[in-house]
Subunit: 304 residues, 2 copies
Amino acid sequence: MRDNYRSRCAAEPAVLPRVDPVLHGEWDASAPLTEEQATNFDRDGYLVLKNWFSADEVALLQAEMDRVLANPDHLARETVVTEANRHEVRSIFDIHAQNPVMGRLAADERLAGIAQFLLDDQVYVHQSRLNYKPGFEGKEFYWHSDFETWHAEDGMPRMRALSMSVLLAENGPQNGPLMLIPGSQRIFISCVGETPEDHHKSSLKSQHVGVPDKPTLIQLADENGIDAPTGGPGTVVIFDCNTMHGSNGNITPYPRANAFFVYNAVSNQLVEPFAASRTRPGYLAAREVHPIYPIAGRLTEQAA
Amino acid sequence: MRDNYRSRCAAEPAVLPRVDPVLHGEWDASAPLTEEQATNFDRDGYLVLKNWFSADEVALLQAEMDRVLANPDHLARETVVTEANRHEVRSIFDIHAQNPVMGRLAADERLAGIAQFLLDDQVYVHQSRLNYKPGFEGKEFYWHSDFETWHAEDGMPRMRALSMSVLLAENGPQNGPLMLIPGSQRIFISCVGETPEDHHKSSLKSQHVGVPDKPTLIQLADENGIDAPTGGPGTVVIFDCNTMHGSNGNITPYPRANAFFVYNAVSNQLVEPFAASRTRPGYLAAREVHPIYPIAGRLTEQAA
């Protein structure tokens, strides 16, 4: 298979054009987003849907999150990631498969239906997480394109995937919000370095390979600015698989929390990694395709 | 001498009342601040003076900063602090004494004159710094009251000192701006732990003693909020010696830079440390009192 997005193979970083669409479908009146929303996603590489879930639904999701975080012993051990050098839970992977409430959320029409529209295909969950970034000591995530890793380490062939973050805590300007560079999805930054063996065991805590070079980051930020959308619990941030993003640390007392789903087009299922000697575990990158059939209606205790 | 602010002596943290004023003088029409500005400083523990220095003056200061950072070899070696594990210059102490332009700035009526008014006394420079927090990798500064350290380690008897930060770069919401808790200057958080020998050699990079406890920080932030003033170069942020403050890291490409002066009332000169076995070096805490005679007029190449 032709590699349109070579990375981790050369001594110098390079900027390659994106050969895939951002908005894969055509908007029409039946779309689950307005025409303006679809256009903005195409232009910026992300879209914020404020208060997309109701207060009742948020309460349900938060209660479930608290329950899961308080007792992670029922979960597959390798899916539970703790803060570097600490025992606090930072992320739980494969949460949609391990928790019925989160599984119901991942299949919700208000998420999966939009993913189908934007990617113009049936979708499946490539990766899911419950993220909890504690106050006082939440560490930063350096700038990265998710696709760079998914392509190099997981064998995702094309840019036809996106992420949705369902905020479960107040995302303010000071508690380390997600920062995105609008328009950055239009270029692919080919990174230097070679993927080490079992790179995911360290890269989830802090990453040193697959890191974009500083001159290109400076140019991207100078030309496009940096946006850090804020929003309350229930807000959804959707971003393209190749949008450059990161977050600062968080010394405030206020945690960040979200349920995070990566949807991939079924036509874009994984092949062999493009720049790694073996694949990552399934909880980081699903190799089996289970198409989602979006579920309509509100989240309730029963429905979950 | 009676110790009104005992810290680093007990096994449990404690909250003590402030027994000193915040605004030491009485406002009248001859004051260098408006009545509202004086009242706000008293209430919040900080005050922002936007564009306090002109564009020409800022250009002069920035050029001087660039010159000094590019060639720190002329400076006393112990005054130059580098980023933890890196060689990039993070702070240069005692800058007002080592550089004539910064010395002129420290004595400027628009800074020192206000310090005299707020502290109702003649003032001298307790500490000065040129701070440069590089983009991409600027690390966080955890929450602290400066006075806690100045009292415990330097022997500053009373809360009659303040800091002024003259911004020399754009201070935006995303590049790790100074965060302050309004009203926090009204209480003194007595910290646990004992000051290690030569604590300043490690504490300037990351601090573990003299750190406020989390429950009190949560209460302060919940009751008062957290403010992160933004401003362009030439803006001045004044804050009381006991105002709780800190800053997040900075993964953006944009550095932070400022000239930083701590003014102490001459009547508040240092005595023996209240909770350390010996004093810190003079470039961190001046033990000789040289009262400032404020200089009127604009900063120019000649004047500097």
